[in-house]
C-alpha cells in the first residue's frame, strides 16, 4: 500500500509539473511589438529600425517598380519572346485592369513601406522618458522616415491619380488613401489630391528640419538635405509652384557635393556600369549577398543556358530581352549623344563593358537588334560570370534636377534660364545644343535622360501628352522579332486615356468598401 501511495504521489507531482508549464511561447529571431511601449531600447536597436526603413525604401525601386510604366509607354517594343510578361500594361488594353499584378505590387509595396514608416514615427513620438537620451539620434531617423513617407506618397499620387490641377485637386476621392498611423483594421477612403500633396509637403518640411545637419554628398547612402531638396523640387513641379521648383532644383545643382553629369565614356562606365559615378544624390547600398531591390533585367536578359545556343556559338552569352527600345526613342538621340552610345548596345557592341554580346532570340537565329543596356549589371553584384542587370539603386539623380529646373523656368516664363540649364545638360551628354526651349524639346529631353528610371508616366501626364505608336526598330520589325499589332508597335494612347491613372487593385476594392475606383475600370 505504501508503494501505491508513492505511485499516486508520483502521478500527482507529474500533474503539477505539467500544469505549471509555460504557455507563453515566443519565436526566436523576433522581438515583441508593444504598441504602447518603447519601440527601441538602445542605439543599436534604433540603428536596426533605421536599417528597416532603408530596406523598405530600397525595395520599391527597379524591376517591376519602374519597368511597368516604362513598357506601358512608347519607349519599348515587346519581343516575340516576351511571353506575355507585362502583357496587360504593355498592350494598355482590357488586361490593364484592377487585377494586374504589377500595379498591385506597386501599390502594396508603397503601403507596406508606409506601414513601417508610420510605426517608426509613432514609436519616436511615444518614446518613454527613460530613453530620451536617444532623442537626438531618433529625431534624425524620424526625419528619414518623413522623407521616405513623402517619397512613397509622391510615387502613389503620380501613378494612381490624375495630375495635379488646383481646380480639381480638392475633388472627393481624387487622391489616394492617406494612412499616417498604423492600424490593421482601418479602411481608409481616398483623400483628395490636395490633401495628399499637402501631406507630402508637411512630411518634407519635417524631414527638412530633422535632416538639416545632413550635408549632401555624391552617391550618399543616407538621406541628405540635398535629397530632401530634390524631392521638394519634384513636389513643387507637380503642384505647379515653379518658382520653388526651380529654386530647390538649383539648390541641389549648386550643392557643395558637386554632383556632376557623366560626360565621357569613362565617366559613363563609372556611373552606369560600376556604380561609382558622380550623378547620384542618393545611391543605396548593394552587395552580392544583399539583394534588396528589383532588377531591370527584362531589357537585357543574358541567356546563360548554353542549351539554347546553336553549336557554332556555344559558350557565349547572349542578350535575349523581352523588350527592345523603340526606334521612336532611338531617333530622339543625336548621333554623338553619349547616352545613345552608353545606354544602348548597337550591333552587339557595348561601350560600358567594352564587350560584345550578340542579341539572340528566336529559334537559334541570331539578330543584332539595338538593346537597352543602361542597367546591364554591376560585375561586383553577381557571383556568376553573367551580368544579371543588378545595379545599386539610385532613386535621385542629378540629371533630373537639370530637367526640373529647365521645365520650371520655362513654365514660369524664364526661357533664357531654362535654355541655359538645358544646354548645360546637353553639353555634358555630348548632344547638339538646343537653340531655344519649347515644350516638345523639354518633353523629349525628359524621355532621353530619364529612360528606364520610372519617371515616364509622370512626365507624360504632367505634359498632358499621350503617345501615338511605338515605331519599332526596322530589323526587329522585318525579322518578326517583336510582337506586332494595334496593341503593340502600333499602339496609341490618348492623353485622356483612363489607363494613365492606374487602377486601385482588386484586393483593396473588395476589402475596403470606402474606396472608390478610378474612372474607366
Amino acid at each position: 500500500m505504501k508503494k501505491t501511495i508513492n505511485y499516486i504521489l508520483a502521478a500527482f507531482s507529474a500533474v503539477v509539473l505539467v500544469s505549471s508549464c509555460n504557455l507563453d511561447l515566443f519565436p526566436n529571431g523576433s522581438v515583441a511589438y508593444d504598441e504602447e511601449g518603447a519601440l527601441f531600447h538602445d542605439a543599436k536597436e534604433l540603428g536596426y529600425l533605421e536599417n528597416g526603413l532603408y530596406t523598405s525604401y530600397r525595395s520599391g525601386f527597379y524591376g517591376e517598380y519602374s519597368i511597368t510604366e516604362e513598357v506601358m509607354t512608347d519607349g519599348f517594343n515587346a519581343s516575340a519572346d516576351y511571353g506575355n510578361n507585362y502583357g496587360g500594361v504593355h498592350r494598355v488594353d482590357s488586361d490593364l485592369n484592377p487585377g494586374d499584378y504589377y500595379i498591385r505590387d506597386f501599390w502594396s509595396n508603397r503601403y507596406g513601406a508606409i506601414k513601417n514608416y508610420n510605426v517608426f514615427i509613432k514609436g519616436v513620438e511615444v518614446l518613454p522618458e527613460e530613453y530620451k537620451a536617444l532623442g537626438a539620434q531618433a529625431q534624425l531617423v524620424k526625419g528619414e522616415a518623413y522623407f521616405f513617407r513623402a517619397s512613397a506618397y509622391l510615387d502613389l499620387i503620380r501613378r494612381f491619380a490624375a495630375p495635379y490641377d488646383a481646380a480639381t485637386a480638392s475633388a472627393e476621392n481624387s487622391g489616394v488613401p492617406l494612412v499616417l498611423v498604423y492600424d490593421q483594421n482601418e479602411k481608409p477612403a481616398r483623400a483628395t489630391t490636395q490633401a495628399v500633396y499637402d501631406q507630402i509637403k508637411q512630411d518634407l518640411d519635417s524631414a527638412y528640419v530633422n535632416l538639416s545637419s545632413k550635408a549632401g554628398a555624391k552617391a550618399s547612402q543616407k538621406i541628405t538635405i540635398d535629397a530632401v531638396n530634390a524631392l521638394y523640387a519634384r513636389y513643387y513641379l507637380d503642384v505647379k509652384d515653379y518658382t520653388n521648383a526651380a529654386s530647390k532644383a538649383s539648390e541641389v545643382l549648386g550643392s557643395k557635393a558637386s554632383y556632376a553629369l557623366s560626360s565621357t565614356v569613362k565617366e559613363f562606365q563609372n556611373e552606369y556600369y560600376k556604380d561609382a559615378g558622380t550623378e547620384a544624390i542618393v545611391q543605396l547600398y548593394a552587395s552580392k549577398s544583399e539583394n534588396g531591390s528589383g532588377t531591370n533585367d527584362l531589357y537585357t536578359y543574358m541567356a546563360s543556358s548554353p542549351s539554347e545556343v546553336s553549336d557554332n556559338e556555344e559558350g557565349r552569352y547572349f542578350n535575349k530581352p523581352y523588350f527592345f527600345p523603340s526606334q521612336k526613342l532611338l531617333n530622339l538621340y543625336d548621333q554623338g549623344d553619349l547616352r545613345l552610345a552608353c545606354w544602348f548596345t548597337v550591333n552587339g557592341v557595348n561601350n560600358l563593358t567594352n564587350e560584345v554580346y550578340p542579341t539572340f532570340i528566336i529559334n537559334s537565329f541570331r539578330y543584332d537588334v539595338t538593346i537597352f543596356t543602361k542597367y546591364l549589371g554591376n560585375k561586383d553584384l553577381t557571383s556568376s560570370a553573367v551580368l544579371n542587370a543588378r545595379q545599386h539603386v539610385k532613386p535621385l539623380l542629378i540629371g533630373e534636377m537639370y530637367l526640373i529646373a529647365a521645365e520650371a523656368y520655362y513654365r514660369n516664363g524664364n526661357e533664357s534660364a531654362a535654355l541655359s540649364v538645358l544646354n548645360a545638360l546637353q553639353e555634358k551628354r555630348g548632344a547638339i545644343l538646343s537653340s531655344g526651349v519649347t515644350e516638345t524639346i523639354l518633353y523629349n529631353e525628359w524621355f532621353k535622360e530619364t529612360i528606364g528610371e520610372g519617371l515616364r508616366l509622370s512626365t507624360i501626364k504632367r505634359f498632358g501628352q499621350g503617345y501615338s505608336e511605338r515605331t519599332a526598330q526596322a530589323v526587329a520589325s522585318s525579322q518578326e522579332l517583336i510582337m506586332k499589332g494595334d496593341n503593340f508597335e502600333k499602339k496609341s494612347v490618348a492623353a485622356s486615356d483612363y489607363h494613365l491613372n492606374w487602377p486601385i487593385p482588386t484586393n483593396d476594392i473588395q476589402t475596403n468598401p470606402n474606396l472608390v475606383q478610378n474612372p474607366g475600370y
Binding site: 505511485y7 508520483a10 511589438y33 519601440l39 536597436e45 530596406t55 507596406g112 482601418e186
Partner: protein
C-alpha cells in the same frame, strides 16, 4: 463485419486440423451448437477431451459424433468462450456458446481510459483491423484505408516513393484556413501521419476512426477533423513464443500508362505540324528534316523508371509468460520510384513489452524505431511541391521533341536538342534525406482496489533528419561551379497523460468515470549551411566553396497544450446508455485571454434488440440507435499567429534591419465545431451488418487568413471569422453471403455523401475569389471551381468560344456608356447559353461558377473476400465520384501553338478544318492558344482496384514431417492494379485543386511467403 469474416476463416482452418475418426464402444451424440441468439455456429469444434477425436458442426451448427459414453466434450469456436460438457450417456446435447467479447468484438480504445467493446460504445467508431493493412505494398498503412471507412476520404497524391502523400479527411473539409487533417493517436499518444508511415504496417493491430462527438470530444481542441487511433500488436500472456517471417518481392511500376501512350510519335508530330498549318513545309525541312531530326525518341522513358524492384521483409517474435508478454519485430522496406533518382528505404524495429508483476500493477513499453533514407527527383512534383523545379526534365518530359536523336554527347546532353540526361544528372548530384525516428510510449497502471485505476503514460514522437546535397562542378549544368548543402532538423512531441478511472455497478446500473490531464510539448529545430563555387569533384565540402557564397540559417518553432478532461458513462440494463465528456484545453498558439476553451459532448444509445418486445424478431440480432452532439476545436495554424512581432528583413548595408513583421491579434482563438450525429446500427439474419449515420458539422469562428486592404500594411491576418457546414450520410454494409465448412464469401461496402456549404465569410462579403487557384468561396455554395467556361469550337470558323456569364451584356453596355461596372456580372450562377458566347478570352470577365465543387461529394469503397479451404482471395475497390481536378499538365500537352517545337497529345489532331467542323480543338492555323478555362477542369472521378490479395495456406498436415515450421502461406499482393476514369491527365487521385508535374500513382505486383515457427 471484419471480425466475423476472420472467425469463419479460422473455423475453416480448424476443421482441416481435426480428424474425424470414430472410436469403438461409443454412443452417438447429436446436438447443435448455437450462439446466444440461438443461431447455429458454423464449424464449431466438438472434441472429446484429451483426445484428437472431434468433428466440426455443419452450417446450421448441428453435429453428430460417436463418443465414449463417459466422455467430456469440449465445444469451441473461435470468437466464443469454450465450453465443456460431460456426456453422461446423453444422446442429445445442445450447447449455447457465449461470445467471447475479447475476440469477437474488438475492443476499442476511445479516449484515455480502458478499451471498450464496440457494442457498448455510444460513440461512433469504425475499426479497420490488421487484415486490411497487413502486407500492404504502400509505404504507409494509411493508403490501405482507402474506401474502408464510410465518411473517411483517403487520397494518395502522386507516386513518389518516400513521399508522405496520403491525405485524409473525415466528413468533408471543415475549415477554409486551418488544417482538415484528423488527429492521429498511436497507442494513446497524439502523433502524426508521418509517424504512421514510419511504422511497419504488419505491426498494426487495428486502426479505429473516431467519428462522432461522443467519441472525439475527449480529444477536445484538436478533434474537429476526427481522430485516427492506431493500436499496435501486443504479445499475449501465457503463450508459447511464435515467430512469423514474411517476405515479399516484386515490381513497382506506373499505375496507368494511357497518358504517356497517347503522345504523338515523331512522324505523327511532323505530319500534324504541317497538316494543321502550324508550321510550313519549308520551315520543317530547314529546321528538322534537313538536319536529320526525324526520329521517334520517347524521351519520357529516360525520365521514368518502369518495373522497378520492391521488397519488404519482416520478422515478428511474440509470446508471453505469466506476468510478461512481448512482441518484437524488425522490418525492411525498399521501393525504387518510378522516376529516375527516386527511392525509399526503411528499416524499423518495434519492441512492445507489457507486464503485470502483481495483481494491482500493470506496465508496458511500446517503442518503434525507424531509419529511413530517401531521394526524390526534384524535377517532378510531389504531394507538397506542385510542379517540381524544372519540370520540362521531369513531370513534363512527355512533351520533349521526339524528332531529336537519342544520341548522348560527352557532356551529358543529347545531340541536336541539348536535352539533359537525367541519369547523368544523378551521377553528378545527390540529394539524400536520412531520418531517424523514435515513436513510443510507456505506461503504468495501478489498481489499488477493484475497478479503480490510476494510469500515467508518457510518450514521444521524436526524430531528426539529415539532408545532404551536392552537385559536381564538372557537371555541365553547374557552369563550373559546384555546390554543397547540408541541413539538420530535429523535432519532438512529448506527451504526458495521467488518468483516474473508476467503474462500478449497482443492480442494473453501470457507471464509469474518467478524469485526466494531458500535456503536449512540441519543438522543431533546424539549421542549414550551403556554399557554392566548388571547383573540384573531389572537394565538395562546405568549406571548399567560395567564402563569399557561404550561407547559413536556423529556425525553431514550438507549441504546447495543457488539457484537463472528464468522461462519464452510464448504462441501464445494458440497454440504455448515455455518456458525457468535458474537456478544457489551453494552447500556446493563442494569447493569454483566449487561451482556454471548453469542449463537451453528450451521447445516448438504445440497444433496441434487447427489449423484450423484440425477442420475437429473431432475424434482428442487433439494433442500436445512437445520437450525440458535442463540440470540438481546431488549432491547426501557425505557432505564433497571435503575436505582434518585430522581425528582421533584408539587411541594409550589412546591418540588421527591423520592421513590424506580423500584426498582433489578441482575440485569436480556437476554431469551433458543433457536431451532431444520429445513426442506426443493425445486424440482421446473423449475416448482414448495416450501419447508417447522418451527421451535421458546423464550423464557426473559422480560422482563416483574412484578406485586408494593402493600405493596412499587411494584406492578410489569421483571424476567427466565418462559418461553414458539412452535412452528410455514411453507410456501411457487410454481408456474409456464404458460410460453409470449407468456404466463405463476404461482401462489404462503404458509402459517404457529403455536402459542404460556406455559410458566412469575412467582412460581410458574400463571395471571395482566392487568387490564382480557380477557387471561389460563395455563401450558400460549397467551395467551388470558378473559371471561364469553355464552349467548344465554333463550327463556322474554327475559333474557340467561351460562354458569357450572366450580366456580361449589361457590363459591356456600361463600358460603352463610359461607366464600366463589373458588379453587373453575376459570377455566382452558371450560364451555358449557346447563344451567348464570345471568341475573346478574358479570364477576369468570363469567370463564372462552373457548378463543380472543389471537394467531391461521394466517396467509398467495396470489397469482396472469399476462401475455400486454404485458399483465400480478397479484393478491395475504392471510388470517388464528382471529383474534379484542374489538369494543368493538359495546358502543356494539348496546346500546340503555345508550345510549338514540343510534342503534343494525339488529341490535338482533332482540330477544326473546313471539312471537319465538329472538332474538339480550334483551327490551329489561325494561331489559337488554349487558355486556362474549364476545358482543363476535368472529371477525375475514379474507381480503383486498391488491393488484390490471393493467398494459399498449405494444410498443417503437410508440415507434420518436421517440427520447425508450423505454418506456410504463399501470397500474391497487388495494389492499384486497375483504374477506371474519364480523366485525361496523369492520375486522377490527386488531392489538390490542380495537378502539375506529378508522377502518377504506382502499382505493385508482389509475391510473398509467410512462415510461422
Amino acid at each position: 463485419m471484419l471480425m466475423k469474416k476472420i472467425r469463419v476463416f479460422f473455423a475453416a482452418m480448424a476443421m482441416l486440423a481435426l480428424s474425424a475418426t470414430a472410436l469403438a464402444q461409443n454412443i452417438t451424440v447429436k446436438g447443435s451448437v448455437v450462439d446466444e441468439t440461438g443461431v447455429g455456429i458454423v464449424g464449431a469444434s466438438v472434441q472429446v477431451k484429451g483426445t484428437t477425436t472431434g468433428i466440426a458442426a455443419d452450417v446450421d451448427g448441428n453435429f453428430s459424433i460417436s463418443v465414449p459414453s463417459n466422455a467430456t466434450l469440449v465445444i469451441s469456436s473461435i470468437g466464443y468462450e469454450t465450453k465443456e460438457v460431460a456426456v453422461n450417456g446423453q444422446s442429445i446435447i445442445n450447447v449455447t456458446l457465449r461470445s467471447d467479447s475479447e475476440f469477437l468484438e474488438s475492443a476499442v480504445v476511445l479516449g484515455y481510459g480502458s478499451a471498450k467493446k464496440v457494442s457498448t460504445l455510444v460513440g461512433s467508431v469504425a475499426t479497420v483491423n490488421s487484415e486490411t493493412v497487413k502486407n500492404t505494398p504502400a509505404a504507409t498503412a494509411l493508403d490501405a484505408l482507402q474506401g474502408q471507412v464510410a465518411g473517411m476520404s483517403v487520397l494518395t497524391t502522386g507516386g513518389v516513393s518516400g513521399d508522405n502523400n496520403v491525405s485524409m479527411t473525415l466528413h468533408g473539409v471543415g475549415s477554409l484556413g486551418a488544417s482538415s487533417t484528423p488527429l492521429f493517436v498511436i497507442d494513446g499518444i497524439p502523433s502524426s501521419s508521418s509517424a504512421v508511415m514510419n511504422m511497419n504496417p504488419n505491426d498494426i493491430e487495428s486502426v479505429s476512426v473516431l467519428k462522432d462527438a461522443s467519441a472525439t470530444s475527449i480529444y477536445g481542441s484538436r478533434a474537429a477533423n476526427g481522430v485516427v487511433y492506431v493500436s499496435t500488436k501486443q504479445g499475449a500472456y501465457s503463450e508459447n513464443a511464435h515467430i512469423t517471417l514474411r517476405s515479399q518481392w516484386g515490381v513497382s511500376t506506373i499505375a496507368d500508362m494511357t497518358y504517356y501512350n497517347n503522345m504523338m510519335s515523331g512522324e505523327e508530330l511532323l505530319d500534324f505540324w504541317q497538316r494543321s498549318g502550324i508550321a510550313s513545309a519549308e520551315y520543317l525541312y530547314k529546321n528538322y528534316i534537313s538536319k536529320g531530326y526525324t526520329n521517334n525518341t520517347q524521351w519520357w522513358k529516360k525520365f521514368y523508371n518502369t518495373n522497378t524492384l520492391q521488397s519488404q521483409n519482416d520478422v515478428t517474435i511474440e509470446g508471453g509468460g505469466k506476468t510478461v508478454a512481448y512482441l518484437i519485430s524488425v522490418s525492411q522496406y525498399h521501393q525504387d520510384g518510378t522516376t529516375v533518382g527516386n527511392y525509399y528505404d526503411r528499416y524499423t524495429l518495434r519492441s512492445n513489452v507489457q507486464g503485470h508483476p502483481t495483481n494491482w500493477l500493470k506496465f508496458g513499453v511500446n517503442a518503434n524505431m525507424t531509419i529511413d533514407e530517401s531521394q526524390r527527383n526534384t524535377n517532378f512534383g510531389n504531394s507538397s511541391n506542385a510542379g517540381g523545379n524544372n519540370y520540362l526534365y521531369g513531370g513534363l518530359s512527355v512533351i520533349l521533341n521526339p524528332l531529336y536523336p537519342d544520341k548522348l554527347k560527352d557532356d551529358g546532353r543529347y545531340e541536336g536538342s541539348n536535352y539533359q540526361d537525367p541519369k547523368v544528372r544523378y551521377d553528378n548530384t545527390d540529394d539524400v534525406y536520412k531520418t531517424y525516428n523514435l515513436n513510443g510510449s510507456a505506461f503504468v497502471t495501478i489498481e489499488p482496489f477493484a475497478n479503480f485505476k490510476l494510469t500515467s503514460r508518457v510518450g514521444t514522437d521524436a526524430g531528426f533528419s539529415i539532408n545532404k546535397y551536392y552537385r559536381n562542378p564538372s557537371y555541365v549544368a553547374s557552369n563550373g561551379s559546384g555546390s554543397r548543402y547540408r541541413n539538420w532538423e530535429g523535432w519532438y512531441t512529448n506527451t504526458i497523460t495521467n488518468t483516474i478511472e473508476y467503474s462500478f455497478s449497482a443492480g442494473k446500473n453501470d457507471f464509469s468515470f474518467l478524469a485526466g490531464q494531458e500535456g503536449v510539448d512540441y519543438k522543431y529545430d533546424s539549421f542549414e549551411a550551403q556554399s557554392t563555387g566548388q571547383t573540384n569533384d573531389q572537394q565538395l565540402r562546405l568549406q571548399d566553396g567560395l567564402q563569399a557564397n557561404y550561407s547559413m540559417s536556423e529556425s525553431l518553432s514550438q507549441y504546447r497544450f495543457l488539457s484537463f478532461f472528464g468522461h462519464v458513462d452510464y448504462s441501464f440494463d445494458k440497454k440504455y446508455m448515455i455518456d458525457a465528456t468535458v474537456r478544457n484545453d489551453a494552447s500556446s498558439r493563442f494569447g493569454k485571454n483566449n487561451r482556454n476553451a471548453i469542449f463537451w459532448s453528450v451521447g445516448a444509445m438504445w440497444k433496441m434488440a434487447k427489449e423484450p418486445w423484440m425477442k420475437n424478431a429473431t432475424w434482428i440480432n442487433e439494433l442500436d440507435l445512437k445520437a450525440s452532439y458535442g463540440t470540438q476545436g481546431n488549432a491547426a495554424i501557425g505557432n505564433y499567429a497571435h503575436l505582434g512581432l518585430i522581425g528582421t528583413t533584408t539587411d541594409y548595408a550589412t546591418g540588421q534591419s527591423w520592421v513590424l513583421s506580423q500584426p498582433s491579434n489578441n482575440s485569436l482563438s480556437w476554431e469551433k465545431q458543433g457536431l451532431f450525429t444520429v445513426g442506426v446500427r443493425a445486424r440482421l439474419f446473423n449475416a448482414l451488418n448495416l450501419e447508417v449515420e447522418y451527421y451535421k458539422r458546423n464550423t464557426s469562428n473559422m480560422l482563416m487568413s483574412v484578406p485586408y486592404p494593402y493600405t493596412a500594411g499587411f494584406s492578410s491576418q489569421t483571424s476567427n471569422v466565418g462559418t461553414l457546414s458539412n452535412t452528410g450520410v455514411d453507410i456501411t454494409l457487410g454481408w456474409d453471403i456464404l458460410r460453409t465448412r470449407d468456404a466463405f464469401l463476404s461482401l462489404n461496402a462503404t458509402f459517404n455523401y457529403n455536402k459542404q456549404t460556406v455559410t458566412e465569410l469575412f467582412n460581410g462579403l458574400d463571395k471571395w475569389t482566392v487568387a490564382s487557384t480557380g477557387i471561389t468561396y460563395v455563401v450558400g455554395q460549397p467551395v467551388s471551381f470558378y473559371y471561364p467556361l469553355w464552349a467548344g469550337v465554333d463550327p463556322e470558323d474554327g475559333a474557340p468560344t467561351w460562354y458569357l456569364p450572366y450580366g456580361y451584356e449589361e457590363y459591356m453596355a456600361s463600358v460603352a456608356a463610359g461607366n464600366p461596372d463589373t458588379d453587373l456580372i453575376d459570377i455566382t450562377r452558371t450560364r451555358m447559353d449557346p447563344n451567348a458566347t464570345t471568341k475573346n478570352f478574358n479570364e477576369d470577365l468570363l469567370m463564372q461558377n462552373t457548378g463543380i465543387a472543389r471537394y467531391n461529394p461521394i466517396n467509398g469503397g467495396f470489397g469482396i473476400s472469399g476462401g475455400w479451404k486454404g485458399l483465400s482471395v480478397r479484393a478491395d475497390f475504392t471510388y470517388m465520384l464528382g471529383k474534379y481536378l484542374i489538369n494543368n499538365d493538359g495546358y502543356f500537352v494539348a496546346n500546340p501553338n503555345s508550345f510549338f517545337g514540343y510534342n503534343q497529345s494525339k488529341d490535338v489532331t482533332d482540330f477544326w478544318t473546313p471539312t471537319h467542323t465538329d472538332a474538339k480543338y480550334p483551327n490551329w492555323a489561325d494561331g489559337y492558344n488554349m487558355q486556362f478555362d474549364s476545358h482543363l477542369l476535368q472529371d477525375a472521378s475514379f474507381l480503383r482496384l486498391k488491393s488484390l490479395v490471393v493467398s494459399y495456406t498449405i494444410p498443417a498436415s503437410w508440415l507434420n514431417w518436421q517440427k520447425v515450421v508450423k505454418g506456410l502461406t504463399v501470397s500474391f499482393t497487388g495494389r492499384n492494379l486497375l483504374t477506371f476514369t474519364k480523366y485525361e491527365g496523369i492520375d486522377p487521385e490527386v488531392n489538390s485543386n490542380l495537378t502539375l508535374g506529378l508522377p502518377g500513382n504506382s502499382k505493385q505486383f508482389l509475391g510473398g511467403i509467410q512462415l510461422q515457427f
